[in-house]
Each structure stands twice: as C-alpha cells, then as structure tokens.
Symmetry: C2
Subunit: 341 residues, 2 copies
Amino acid sequence: MQLPPKDSREKARKLLLGLQDEICSGLETIDGAGKFQEESWDRPEGGGGRSRVLQEGTVLEQGGVNFSEVHGAELPPSILNQRPEAKGHPWFATGTSMVLHPRNPYIPTVHLNYRYFEAGPVWWFGGGADLTPFYPYLQDAQHFHQTHKEACDSINSDFHKVFKPWCDEYFYLKHRKESRGIGGIFYDYQDGSGKLYKGQNTGGNAEKISKEIGEKKLSWEELFSLAKACGKAFLPSYEPIVKKRKDSKYSDNERHFQLYRRGRYVEFNLVWDRGTIFGLQTNGRTESILMSLPPLARWEYGYQAPKGSREELLTDLFTKPQDWLNDSNLEKICEKHQAIN
Amino acid sequence: MQLPPKDSREKARKLLLGLQDEICSGLETIDGAGKFQEESWDRPEGGGGRSRVLQEGTVLEQGGVNFSEVHGAELPPSILNQRPEAKGHPWFATGTSMVLHPRNPYIPTVHLNYRYFEAGPVWWFGGGADLTPFYPYLQDAQHFHQTHKEACDSINSDFHKVFKPWCDEYFYLKHRKESRGIGGIFYDYQDGSGKLYKGQNTGGNAEKISKEIGEKKLSWEELFSLAKACGKAFLPSYEPIVKKRKDSKYSDNERHFQLYRRGRYVEFNLVWDRGTIFGLQTNGRTESILMSLPPLARWEYGYQAPKGSREELLTDLFTKPQDWLNDSNLEKICEKHQAIN
C-alpha cells in the first residue's frame, strides 16, 4: 500500500472543514431565513469537533452538519475486524456528516458523510450520500444519481458501478425489507489496493461487480479527489430538487405520511447504522450523533398505503433498489402515477 | 434443577393469555371509549401470536398488548450465551408484553412483559414492569413500586431486593447516562437454582445484593406464582395513577416535553432493548415488536430544561435510580417543587 503524503491529515481536515462551510453557506442561501448555530466541542479521549445545526428554518425543519477530528490509542474491534493491520496502532479520523429534514413533504430528506482514517501503516477513505423522498418523482431520483455518477466518473469510471449498489445494500432496513430511500453512493475502506468493494461478504451486487472489475490500484490523491468531487457534487445534486418542490402546496395528509416515513429513518439510524450505534456505544457526543434524527416522527401500527396512491408508489417502488438511470420501465410506471417531475 | 410439571407449557400459556385478556379489559374500562383491535398471526418457523392494539383512545393515544407462543430448533447465540445447557435442544417460549402511550402528559408511559422458556433440560421465567413519567409525582412512583414490591413479597421476601435494582440497571440509556424512567421490577433466567441475579456481571447493585442473599432454591410453582402475582399487580399499580391524572389540564408546553421524552423511549427500545433488537434482527413480526414505539415523538438538538422547572426535576431526579420507597430526601426535594401528589 502506498504511503499517504506527509501532510495527509492537514489536507483531509482542510477538505472536510471546507465542505462543511460550503454546504452550510449553500443551505442558508436555499433556506433564506434559517441560520446555522455552531458549537465547538472537545473529546476527552482526544480531538473534537464543530457541530452546526439549523432549526426551524423556512425550508429546513432541521439541518445538522458536523465536522469532527478525533484520535485515540487503538481502534475499536468493530473496525479492527475490517482492518486487522491497524491493530496496536494509534488512529486518527476526520469526517463531515450531514442530515437534512426539510419541512415540505415534497422535498426529500438527504444524508451525506465523507471521512478519512489513518492507523499506523493503514489509511482509508469512506463516504457517500443518499436521498430519501416522501413523495415519488422519477426525475428527482435520476438527477441525484446522475450528479453523483458524474462526480465518481470524473475520477474513475469504475467507482459508480460498485458504489451505487453498495449504497443500496448499506441503507437497507432488513426488518422492513425496505431500502431507506432511493440510495445514491456509498464506499468505505478505500485504500487504493485490492478490490473496490470492501464491505461484508454478502454476495450482493456491489461485491459481484467489484469482482468482475478485479483489482484496482489507486493513489491517495485519486481517493482524495473522489471525496472532493463527491462532496462538491452535493449542492448541485440537491438544490434543484429543493427549488422545484419547496413551494408545492401540501395538506395534513402529506405531512402525516412524511412523519410516518421519518419513523423509518429513525429505525434505520438506531437499529442498523453502524456509525450511529458505534458512536452511542463508545461514548461519542450523543447530541451531535443524534442530530440525524428528525425533529418529529410518527409510528402507526399496521399502516397500509391506499391502493393506487402516491404513498403506495413510494412504498413499492421508491424503497426498493432500482437502476434509476437506465431502467426504462420506471418511466412507464411513474408516468401512470404522474410521478415523473 | 427441578423438572417442570408435565403441563408446564399449558399452564404458562393459560396464565399469559389470561393476563392479556385481563389487562385489555381493564384498560378498555379505564379508557372509556377506545377498543382493542385483535390480529392473530402465525410464525412461519413455528408458533404465532395474538396482537392487540388500541389506537386513538380517550386516555390512551396508543396501547399495545401482545401474546405470543413460539418454538424452534435451537435458541439464538445471544440467549445460548446465558443458558449454554440449552444448546442443541428445541425451544419453546411464550410471553405477554405491553406498552401504553397515554395522551395526557401527566399520565406516565408504562411497560410490562412476562415470559416463560423451555429448551431441553432447562426452563426459566422472566419479566417485569417499569413506569416512565413525563411529569414528576413522588406518590405515583411510590405507588407503582409499592404495589410491585407487595406482589414480589407475597411469594418471597428476597425477590424485590434484587429485581428492583435489576430493573434500574436494565432500563438504562448509557449514551444519555439516564434511566428510561423510575423503574419497577425486572428479572430473567429464573430457574430456581443458584443466585437470583442472572444478568451480566457488571458489579451493579442487583448482583451485589444477590450475592449477599446467596443461593436460593425455588420451585417451578413458586416462580410461576411470581409471574402470576406480578402480572395481577399491574392494573392496581397503574389504574389509580391514571384516574388521578387523566383530567389534568395541559398546554402545548407539556405536550411538547412529553413528545421530547418519548424520543428517549424510542432510543432505549431501538438501541438498548435486547428483546427488540433480537426480534428485529431475527425475522420477528416487526409490526408487533414495534408496537412499543410511540405514535408521535420529537427530537430537539441541545434541549435543556429551564432552571427550576418541573421538566428539570424530571430530568434530574426521575431519570436516575432512586430508592423510591425508603429515601426520605426525595420527599423534601419533591415538596419544594410541588411534585408530591
């Protein structure tokens, strides 16, 4: 494995702090009224962070964008399992993560996270972004995927083939047999050696496609550029959707369904998201970690979307992995339900 | 270990079905308007259940009372760790569980669960009940504890000494350094042999007190009677509190705080409750398991209860383990805040 550049930590920090700034500034412009409040914090075991939250905005009911930079003596077992070479070494990790809960049910919830790790002889990048709509619009899904595909392709044309299905497989609620939303991209443990897919051996599409692609040699700089390109792609991937939907009229019915689906977001984050669970179980900063939870959520025993409704289309089509950019059947189905744009 | 009676499963089933009936009937009377809707279901791997839910009642915003009776070829590792003698044997489990989410913020949320297991040469009882108030009233906490203490004492005067702290230790949100509520009783793996405390070796009070008590020989019948006595204690432990609080006037402010605290209930159930997590990760009936989640919940970044408020008293005193029945300091503190009755 290639050694990282001497100023690797400095470069990663600068990139991720800049990403937080850029996103917050962009979101304040989109929102028009809401402002991010900042809190800096120290981690007693080493490092700290800069949490920013926007509450009760015009467009955003809540938005959280966190930067953190932490270090310690040895990585926890859950990560060492995947990176045994890091055992016995001090580690460094930095990341920027974001979850937005818009008020209008026609605007999707969205999540982003980019991070960089070093531990003794090993280093790796991870990250991604995924979109969770409450009402189905094919063009919104396509735009989000297309923007992230172009960002990936600008560095290496093999990335998106693996990172798109990896996202579908990661943001999956097994207990509901549902995806969290329409996906996006997700990658982890990228150190420039071996195969692109470095998740668990589940025999899924990400693993299969990665095998077909075979070994990929990538430099630190290429993976740094990937994080940069994808991070920069976020605002262009999301802003047009917000602009298109933010003035759509909605009634209690749509709000009701939004809050119900937000319950699923809570379920994913607390039951399945490794980052959240790991943070909570290892004395992370609870308020920053749980900034991802929605300001209001609802559960309803035995809820079934009415036959033929948009809520049913969302549940049937938009919470299952789809080939959003290439499957022409999607257009036919969405057309019937006036769910194109 | 003593062999269970020949009709052990039949006796346990009858007790727990009867408990479901008794509780539902009592709750319908208390509510006055809401009725439980029943759904029976089969588990493909063996067994099934009877789920009952009351939605949008007068007193209860939501109440779920589930009975289930399931069996399988081998227990999952998480339980086998605690009961290695069960390895390689088919198992049988039956239980009744309940969570109530009242509408009025002055009425506490409450949970109950009693269960019985058999697996080859081993059998055991488990269960308990715990109360989660949103507004602090010392007498409500004392009444709930006193009623459950008397039920335990009616079988064996050592039970409550161990099961009360065990409850405090189980219903604990480590990531918040908070108890879920004011506790009650909790016990598990009771097979009449060895020490009363059979949880993890955490060096907590339940373990310490159990050590002081020493080995306890108990018959199947005594442990069956314990489940019966505690199950029967539920309505008398809760009904007087509901009657006292149900007509209390409240404003958006109290409702707001109730929804915020319900967020903690969600966090406990999805992050820490072994039963919930185990059920979700092993293909349990999701809708029945998640009937424990509140119909509406709220999260707010960085919320702090106002100085000197009842919300602060709830947070400081009523989400920390207390000796509700014996600590005379509690009365002095609660008196100052008019939080006695």
